[in-house]
Point group: C2
Chain length 405, copies 2
């Protein structure tokens, strides 16, 4: 008997009909002889709706109370899904993050999972039950409800799969799998059958919305085999696992991200420790920084530029304003009209031609590159936001991602 | 410094404007130098809305999952009210039933409070915070979420007031207090300044919707002083406490209840233990039985009639059907077109004229009395539902409740 952890996103459980569809899938997996643990997100736009209710009352509520509020979205989902499975005549039980024993840090709205006590789930599985778990939420050591931030439900699913030593973690979403580029931008984009953790990590962190990088990191660290599938059909999905089946092409896909903003700290004192001071202050507040560019010191000062997600922009700028004196800096500027395009693929470091091919594609379209960042398996360029669609199409075509099998 | 427990019902917190109004009242009470614990219900029709969502998926969901679902309504309320108080600049924290340590029985959807661990609340009060507690919910010894059933939030408030040894428990609702009759039926009805626990208990159990009898029972047992007030104005409310201020009149009010159904078990074997068997089976499922009438045995059988609330009717009839053989009974019948009218007042037992005055009022209106039940402080009559409005007006007038000061 295999233990399978399934995760269904908000659009997959958005209404009664979809919940019954999901219940049917769970039933099939259970009757195939598997133990099933299911993680669900809040229905459809429930989280946005709850957020609107909060904003109507207080434009700047404490994060603790926000977590108290937002965590109800998943609690509603698990109860309704359990009822849908009851309607199909199968034994089932729903559990909140607290009941599962998902212990997290106390960084409200962006907490990290620190430990999972799987005993309650194991007890219910031993009793023959399908177990439905609320994604996105946990409890800190003060017994307060926390939420995990972006990608939280995926992270819950992978963490549970790791804690329970599951045989497979199935992530159900509204797309068929991982594509060589966003099919909405590039109709010729192909679905990948396999991708390695590292490649997926880059794709995810670079804007492919299928999986959040936190969940992929966790899967990599605990070697949890993942598969990304669509909850609305029975197409094969994309497997994410350690040994990617070797394909002929080096480049796996083109990712893009328009949800970023660039911040520039001007006139930072050119002495040791300034960057550390700056980025530690941001990290302490849970703000992730992406591409970093530091100018060469001139006249005793330097400029530090970097990107953050748009949702962190205001908070990041506020933090930096409070640090200007300490950094010896004169100003902080920001821009939101930028986007990031990336090519991802293992073995890139051994193919020096990749970067120049990418630059060539952008140059042919007359697109200006503002910042560049590279790693073992990706190259990212920051470009004007208005050019992103043309850029993705051109790069996808340049690497022949539509035709290489 | 006094400790006050306030409870606000669903209509008092139905939207952002009303939440801000409630937050303002709480602020005033806090700034008057009191420690404040606030219990809130789910907003407006949230509970009905959640119930509709459940019914769309499963017309007969398990009660455990129903509790998982319904308890989110109060969790949303406490978070939003905490945010409203934050917006006024006061320190505040919201707590679920689980976080407060409200331990209950495991009878889902109708659980009883068994113990309250007040340590978390005391810690937060000591830290200077206003504490907002989710009404209607608790946790059983399996760590599962339970709800308390009808009158649950009032019960939470009184139980907390008892556990914390509060100086006053203020129940805020959409009416001004306890009236001599339902003002919607009897415009001349007067608001009572004071009423004793026992009188309130009868009024509540007889259909006065202001307070549920469970909360009044609890208040009486722990001698918790209550006041019922309107959350939309600053009128004086009605105090409920041990020593009611003596007024000239004996009768405190006329209560009525149309949410009842009558069940008749026909042809029960006329031997000892039958009634016990019948009512124990109902009690085991948490079904409260009201007026009971037993016919005199004839030909070795008897009929047992009693009333239950309409919401329990189906379940009660099903239970009895399964017991027919054991009771030696031949049939179970029921009727929903009935209503109950009651007069309530301490000292009634010493005033034999009260009952006949009530019967006279009903007779003058040509209203048939189907069952009668009396206690130390009330007389109840079961009458046809269609006659209830005329009956309440006639009895209220007969006892001169509109004019006696």
């Amino acid at each position: 008997m295999s233990l399978i952890v399934q995760k269904y996103g908000g659009s997959s459980v958005a209404n009664a009909e979809r919940l019954m569809n999901v219940a049917g899938r769970i039933k099939a997996a259970k009757e195939a002889g598997n133990d099933i643990v299911v993680v669900v997100s809040a229905q459809g736009d429930t989280t946005d709706h709850l957020m609107d209710m909060a904003m109507e009352i207080n434009s700047n509520p404490s994060k603790r109370e926000l977590d108290m509020l937002l965590s109800t979205g998943e609690q509603i989902s698990i109860a309704l899904l359990a009822m849908a499975i009851e309607a199909l005549g199968l034994p089932v039980i729903s559990l909140t993050g607290q009941q599962v024993g998902i212990k997290t840090s106390n960084l409200h709205t962006n907490a990290r999972i620190e430990a999972i006590d799987g005993s309650r789930i194991r007890k219910e599985l031993d009793g023959g039950k399908i177990v439905i778990v609320a994604g996105f939420q946990g409890m800190d050591d003060n017994d307060d409800i926390t939420t995990l931030g972006r990608g939280g439900s995926d992270t819950t699913a992978v963490a549970l799969a790791a804690a329970l030593n599951a045989d497979m973690c199935e992530i159900y979403t509204d797309v068929d799998g991982v594509y060589t580029a966003d099919p909405r931008l590039v109709p010729e984009a192909r679905k990948l059958a396999d991708i390695s953790y590292d490649e997926m990590l880059e794709m995810a962190s670079l804007g492919a919305k299928v999986l959040h990088n936190r969940s992929v990191e966790l899967a990599k660290n605990f070697n949890v085999p993942l598969v990304v599938k669509c909850s609305f059909n029975s197409n094969d999905g994309t497997y994410v696992r350690e040994e990617s089946i070797v394909e002929k092409m080096v480049i796996k896909g083109v990712a893009h991200d328009v949800d970023i903003a660039r911040i520039a700290v001007i006139g930072v004192a050119d002495k040791p420790g300034m960057a550390h001071k700056l980025f530690k202050a941001l990290a302490d507040q849970g703000i992730n920084v992406d591409i970093i560019l530091q100018s060469i010191g001139r006249g005793g000062t330097k400029d530090i530029s970097f990107t953050v997600s748009k949702s962190n922009l205001k908070q990041a700028v506020d933090i930096i304003k409070g640090l200007l004196d300490e950094l010896g800096a004169t100003d902080v500027k920001y821009a939101e009209d930028i986007a990031k395009i990336s090519v991802v693929g293992a073995g890139m470091a051994n193919n020096p031609g990749i970067a120049s091919l990418m630059f060539e594609a952008l140059a042919e379209e007359g697109i200006n590159i503002e910042m560049i960042s590279t790693s073992e398996i990706k190259i990212s360029c920051l470009i004007p936001k208005e050019d992103i669609e043309r850029a993705v199409k051109a790069v996808h075509k340049k690497f022949r991602l539509d035709s290489v099998a």
